[in-house]
C-alpha cells in the first residue's frame, strides 16, 4: 500500500481528531504536499457538511412545546398490562440472553434429574420392589414392606413350621417392624 492510500485511510480519523499527535502531524504534512490527497480531504469535509446540514435544517424546525406535548401524552397514557410485559420482555429477553438461557436451563434440568437419586431421602422414594412370584419350597416366608426406608424384604424363616413359633422366639429369629 503506497503512502497516499495510507494517508487517505487516515483522513477521516484526522478530521475527527482521533489520531495520535505523531500520526496527525504526518497526515497534515502529506496533505500540504499532495494535491490528490488534499482533494480527497475536501470531498470528505463536503460530505460531512452535506449530511450535517440536511439534518440540522430538519431539526431546527422542530418546535419544543408540541414535541414535549407528544412526550407528555405518552407518559400520561394508561398502558395495558401486556404492553408493559412486552416492553419488559423486549428489554430483558434479548437474543444473547435467550441464547445462553436455553442451554443453561437444559443443563440445570439435567443436573436435577441426575441428582434425583443422590439427594438424601429422594433416592428411596420409589425403592419399593414388587414381588411378582415367590416359591419358598415349603419354608415359611414373610413379605415385608418397611415404610421408613421404602424397602421390600423377603424373609425366610429357619424351619418349615415357623408359623408355630411363639411371639418371643419370632422376635429373635426374624425382623420386627
Amino acid at each position: 500500500m503506497n503512502t497516499c492510500e495510507t494517508i487517505r485511510e487516515s483522513i477521516g480519523s484526522w478530521l475527527d481528531g482521533e489520531l495520535s499527535p505523531s500520526a496527525s502531524e504526518a497526515v497534515r504534512l502529506h496533505l500540504a504536499a499532495c494535491s490528490d490527497c488534499s482533494v480527497a480531504r475536501q470531498q470528505l469535509e463536503k460530505l460531512q457538511l452535506v449530511v450535517k446540514d440536511e439534518l440540522v435544517t430538519q431539526a431546527a424546525s422542530i418546535d419544543f412545546m408540541p414535541f414535549w406535548r407528544g412526550v407528555q401524552q405518552r407518559i400520561n397514557r394508561k398502558r395495558a398490562w401486556h404492553e408493559d410485559l412486552f416492553e419488559w420482555s423486549r428489554g430483558f429477553l434479548t437474543a444473547p440472553r435467550i441464547a445462553w438461557a436455553v442451554p443453561a436451563l437444559i443443563v440445570v434440568l439435567l443436573a436435577l434429574f441426575s441428582l434425583d437419586s443422590y439427594l438424601p431421602g429422594r433416592g428411596v422414594r420409589d425403592n419399593f420392589a414388587s414381588v411378582e412370584s415367590i416359591d419358598a419350597h415349603g419354608r415359611s416366608v414373610a413379605l415385608l414392606r418397611e415404610d421408613q426406608t421404602k424397602t421390600t424384604v423377603i424373609w425366610l424363616y429357619q424351619d418349615q413350621e415357623g408359623e408355630n413359633e411363639t411371639a418371643e422366639e419370632a422376635s429373635k429369629s426374624g425382623p420386627t417392624f
Binding site: E9, G12, S13, D16, E18, Q42, Q43, L44, K46, L47, Q48, V50, V51, K52, E54, L55, V56, T57, Q58, A59, A60, S61, I62, F64, F67, W68, G70, V71, R74, I75
Partner: protein
C-alpha cells in the same frame, strides 16, 4: 444558574417532571437529528424521538450515572431507531417525496434555481446512499457527523470498541464518497 444534566437527572428521579422537561428541551433536536439520520423519514423520526424520551422517562430511575446522560439517551434513540427500521417497509422513492414535501413546506427555496436542483438531487442521492448502509454503519456516520462525538462516546453508545467505530466510519465514508463523487 443552569443546572447540570446530572442534577436534572437526580431531580427527575425524585419525581420532578419539570426537570425532565428541561432535559427534553436540551436534547430533543439532537435526538431527532440522530433518529432522522437513521430512519430518513421525518414523521417516523418524530414519533421515535418522542417515544425515546418516553422510554427514558420510564427508565430514569435505572440511570446510575455511569455514563453521561447524552450517551444514555442516544443509546436509547439508536436502539429504538434500529427497531423501527426493522419494521419499516418503505422504499427510497417514498423518502425522497417526503423530504421534498417537508422542504417545500418549510419554504426552503434556494436563491439559485440551478443550485436548488443540484441540492435536491444531492439530497436524494444522499438518502439512497445512506439507506444502503447497514444500521451499524449508518449509526456511526450520523453520531459522528451530527454531534461530533468522540469514537469513545460512539463506542459506548453502540456497545462496541473504538477500533470498530473507526473501521465502520472509514467504510461508511468510503461508500458514501463512491456514490456521491459527482456531487462532492
Amino acid at each position: 444558574m443552569e443546572l447540570s444534566d446530572s442534577e436534572l437527572v437526580k431531580k427527575s428521579q425524585a419525581g420532578e417532571t419539570s426537570a425532565f422537561q428541561e432535559l427534553v428541551s436540551r436534547y430533543h433536536q439532537k435526538v431527532f437529528m440522530v433518529i432522522l439520520g437513521l430512519l430518513r423519514n421525518r414523521e417516523d423520526a418524530l414519533d421515535v424521538a418522542q417515544e425515546t424520551f418516553f422510554r427514558a422517562f420510564r427508565k430514569i430511575n435505572s440511570f446510575q450515572g455511569g455514563s453521561s446522560f447524552y450517551t444514555w439517551i442516544y443509546r436509547i434513540a439508536v436502539n429504538m431507531s434500529i427497531d423501527a427500521q426493522r419494521r419499516q417497509k418503505r422504499n427510497p422513492l417514498d423518502f425522497r417525496e417526503s423530504m421534498d414535501d417537508v422542504m417545500e413546506a418549510q419554504n426552503q427555496v434556494a436563491k439559485d434555481p440551478f443550485a436548488d436542483v443540484h441540492d435536491k438531487e444531492l439530497r436524494e442521492k444522499l438518502t439512497v446512499a445512506i439507506n444502503d448502509l447497514t444500521p451499524d454503519h449508518k449509526a456511526v456516520i450520523v453520531l459522528r457527523t451530527i454531534e461530533g462525538l468522540s469514537y469513545k462516546d460512539i463506542g459506548e453508545i453502540l456497545g462496541c470498541s473504538e477500533g470498530t467505530v473507526m473501521s465502520r466510519l472509514h467504510y461508511a465514508r468510503k461508500k458514501l464518497q463512491d456514490k456521491l463523487r459527482a456531487f462532492l
